[in-house]
């Protein structure tokens, strides 16, 4: 009898399974599929997908159950609740970015600013459905920048971190699908065919070194709440540009970024438990995330069209470059270049679109910081 009881107890956990957990397994499997088969942000979607399955097993020991602390919950406490992981990742990202082409034509940064419109418009829209802090956290999906979204959602103590992360990284991967229809809707074929010959300028090494310091100081004055976010990004870039810390720069770009990415995905998955994720709010958040990306794109394109009103014939900009102002780097820049080539096989926009794309990295971080400052 004891034997059978002991044997049956091995399977008693099946009774704790809920249909919501099974739904989460499906979502986890979908994320893994998208990561492997479609190569959509695999470095994050794969750990998130696996983690979603791991934490949604009944009484999973990966997350805290009662008094027993689970490792993923411990990781969350150690690196997410204090925003440490996204900030460390930002050092790596900063070290990866070459701001050189952007510094040659700094006016392109204005498109990065315009393309943050989706964030603020989504805040306006999400405010009808969520309280202000959750609405702001959801709006930052439009930053098209995972670490910024995590940082802002964490600082604002949003209860929707898991859904926000899934939306942010999924839409970043879906940029080639989301942006082209919006760009085509807002531009004429004639506008999409506008050529922008690229003339290489020159930027001194001193400018490249001073740039991250200046940006940190300016952003710090306006949005002190987010100075860590801008500061860590710019610190990474200073490592890259200073010229005397190449090994540290390479470590930040590769080893540090990879290590953080591994634990970040799993840690975010810790927030994807069925009770937090399988609810109507999640669908609404996914829809609002799409709105954010669409209006980011629209903001950049329409700003370029506005600028064109004041430019003489022959000097007009291809308004598509405005769409690259979102932070999804380098996908957005490449999408714009591809669209230009589709209209005219000699219309190379890559240098402009990538520069605007890089400016989106800075602008999205500052936009996140401004939101935090405005809400504090």
């Amino acid at each position: 009898m004891d034997f059978w009881n002991a044997f049956a107890s091995l399977f008693s956990n099946f009774g704790n399974l809920t249909w919501q957990m099974v739904v989460m397994w499906g979502i986890g499997a979908l994320l893994i599929y998208l990561a492997i088969a479609k190569k959509m942000e695999p470095s994050l979607l794969l750990p998130m997908g696996f983690g979603a399955i791991l934490v949604n097993l009944p009484l999973s020991g990966a997350i805290t159950q009662g008094d027993t602390v689970g490792p993923i919950s411990a990781l969350f406490e150690a690196g997410m609740s204090n925003e440490l992981f996204p900030l460390l990742l930002f050092i790596g990202i900063g070290a990866m970015i070459d701001f050189g082409p952007l510094l040659e034509k700094p006016w392109l940064m204005l498109f990065g600013a315009a393309a943050q419109f989706g964030i603020f418009f989504t805040l306006f829209l999400a405010g009808f459905f969520f309280d202000l802090k959750d609405a702001a956290s959801i709006a930052v999906i439009g930053a098209a920048d995972g670490p910024t979204a995590i940082f802002v959602a964490n600082v604002l103590h949003s209860q929707y971190l898991g859904a926000i992360m899934v939306a942010a990284y999924s839409y970043m991967a879906l940029v080639p699908i989301v942006q082209p229809p919006v760009i085509k809707l807002l531009t004429t074929q004639k506008e999409r065919r506008i050529r922008m010959p690229y003339q290489k300028g020159s930027v001194s090494q001193l400018t490249k070194i001073l740039f991250p310091i200046v940006v940190t100081i300016i952003a710090g004055f306006v949005a002190p709440a987010s100075v860590a976010l801008v500061g860590f990004l710019m610190f990474g870039n200073l490592l890259r540009e200073c010229g005397v810390l190449n090994t540290l720069s390479e470590t930040a770009q590769n080893i540090l970024a990879n290590l953080i990415t591994i634990v970040l995905g799993l840690t975010v998955a810790g927030q994807m438990t069925a009770d937090k994720f399988v609810r109507p709010d999640t669908l609404l958040i996914l829809a609002l995330g799409l709105v954010a990306f669409v209006f980011d794109t629209a903001g950049g394109v329409l700003f370029a069209k506005l600028v064109n009103l004041f430019l003489p014939e022959g000097k007009k900009l291809n308004p598509m470059i405005g769409a690259a102002g979102i932070s999804a780097f380098p996908m957005s820049g490449r999408v714009v270049n591809k669209l230009g080539l589709e209209e005219d096989n000699q219309n190379f926009l890559l240098m402009y679109s990538i520069s605007v794309n890089v400016s989106g990295q800075i602008a999205s971080v500052i936009a996140g910081g401004l939101l935090l400052t405005l809400l504090s």
Partner: protein, 42 residues
């Protein structure tokens, strides 16, 4: 539940936020132009 009056809070944030980001980026653009001017080789 719909928060129908939320626009009274979010609309000003939207306007101030967009104006602020354009201003901040504008200042950075000016700073970079200045840096380029000061550090360029004659």
């Amino acid at each position: 539940m719909l928060h129908l009056t939320s626009w009274m809070t979010t609309l000003p944030i939207m306007v101030i936020g967009m104006v602020s980001i354009v201003l901040v980026i504008g200042v950075i653009v000016l700073a970079v132009m200045l840096l380029n001017k000061l550090t360029s080789r004659k």
